[in-house]
Amino acid sequence: MSKQTDLLELKKIASQIRRDIVRMVHACQSGHPGGALGCTEFFVALYFKVLKHNPKFSMDGKGEDLFFLSNGHLSAVWYAALARSGYFDVKELATFRKLNTRLQGHPATHEHLPGVRIASGSLGQGLSAALGAAQSKKLNKDDSFIYVLMGDGELQEGQVWEAAMYAGFNKMDNIIATIDYNGQQIDGPVDKILSLMNLRAKWESFGWTVQEFNGNNLDEVIKALEHAKILAKQGKPVMNLMKTEMGFGVDYMMGSHKWHGVAPNDEELKKALDQLEETIGDY
């Protein structure tokens, strides 16, 4: 398969995952479509291209790259990416947020959903857990990478900076973190709520290597994530400041915090699906 066809195929998967997200959120009339849609390229790049992983899930993931989702409210896109990459049957996406589901509103482990290694939802905790797993990899002489995604609003949590300091000081060169830098949080634009100010300078001063890229350009995301592995070899943790647009792919949801945690109605669902024509088969 040529590189070009490969990219076209991945774009089709991205469109399908967006269809999955809006259908899942619509079916239970709850959830967080905005952030999930904005990070779809990231999840496609990760699970279909970058990650060295085995959908025959094991909690310890020895010899595999591991991914942690810190901003757990993006669960819809994660579940769709896991199902579409073979962790569980795509039909199970229909149970999202419903009673007795393994697809809890925010990711959880006690339902034993393949792909999820720790609960998240209460913000600010994922980087610490990822660093623990990274430390465990080092003890086990396992040279795989640990990936973690955080929200930008989430960076207002103090624990993130405890973890940032730990990673920088201890030169955690097997961690590749990404921030979904969409500039929005529940109550409005991040800059109006509690600005992150010079975010690049913040991470650099904590001892991280920082790169920035457009998170809604699939080709760019893949290249940046591959480059991150090279950057990590310089002996520092890597932070990807990934600019995204909340709600990307569905025009009426784009660029506004309004669709952070609101589900589309029947008419809005149709309107969204009409814009996401490419499919590999709905669940």
């Binding site: 959880a108 609960a119 209460s122 905790q125 610490s128 086990n140 396992d142 973890a163």
Partner: protein
Amino acid sequence: MTKFTFTEKKDTRSGFGVGLHELGKQNPDVVALCADLTGSLKMDAFKKEFPERFFQVGIAEANMMGLAAGMTIGGKIPFTGTFANFSTGRVYDQIRQSIAYSHKNVKICASHAGLTLGEDGATHQILEDIGMMKMLPGMTVIVPCDYNQTKEATLALGTHVGPAYLRFGRPNWPIFTTGRPFTIGKADKMIDGTDVTIFACGHMVWQAIEAEAMLAAKGISVELINLHTIKPLDVEAVLNSVEKTRCVVTAEEHQINGGLGDSIAHVLARFRPTPMEMVAVNDSFGESGTPTELLKKYGLGPENIVAAVEKVLKRK
């Protein structure tokens, strides 16, 4: 007749330190994390012998709990060490989500619990930690009573699977459990008796031993049970003893709400309503002072246990 005596006093935290060092030798997957209190937690021996398995995290307890949770992925058995206040209340949500809800095999080891921390005062004297930790689904809660039992409990946690909270303290305290078996979740009946059962944990077990001698001199037969495991509670041992004695006193270095007494009251209310008195801190914060002064002022002396027994006997 005093049934238990001691020839030596040591701090329970040193029992933890020795146990952790021993575990380090037994199992290469045991790792230790500390938030700038290595000496206070007696983790130096482990740190010295296994520097690659010892993680200094700085004064950043929330990150420590997350790191510990993450380290279990890949098969490590993390033991976190800091003061009880910073091991629980400060990081409750981290423990709740990343450790308890995620069912991670993290052992939260907490020193300087309770009033016997002494002179540092109420900011550090946590009296709510047992309650907070026992409310978390799946969390094991252990409050050993002396140096030896703290060592045994630490060793037992090496093979126990699941999240656990181990609570110990700072003062030198009589060692009186040497040679006694320790099993997580199994009550230790220390003295057989017929008139009243005293359930105690932690430093209060020794206070109860002293109280028992005073009561025996008055002709009162006390059954003393060391309930070192608050959760899961040995319900059978509680009910069996109460069946015989038909009245209960509990003794703990904790708030009256949420601790050992609260757990026993739940069992009795549901299965065998029984007259009961609780020796505990009565809904207040502590203060600076020596451990002995504080135990006396806050009603946790042997004489307070004696008074509680005399009171409950009248309600029988």
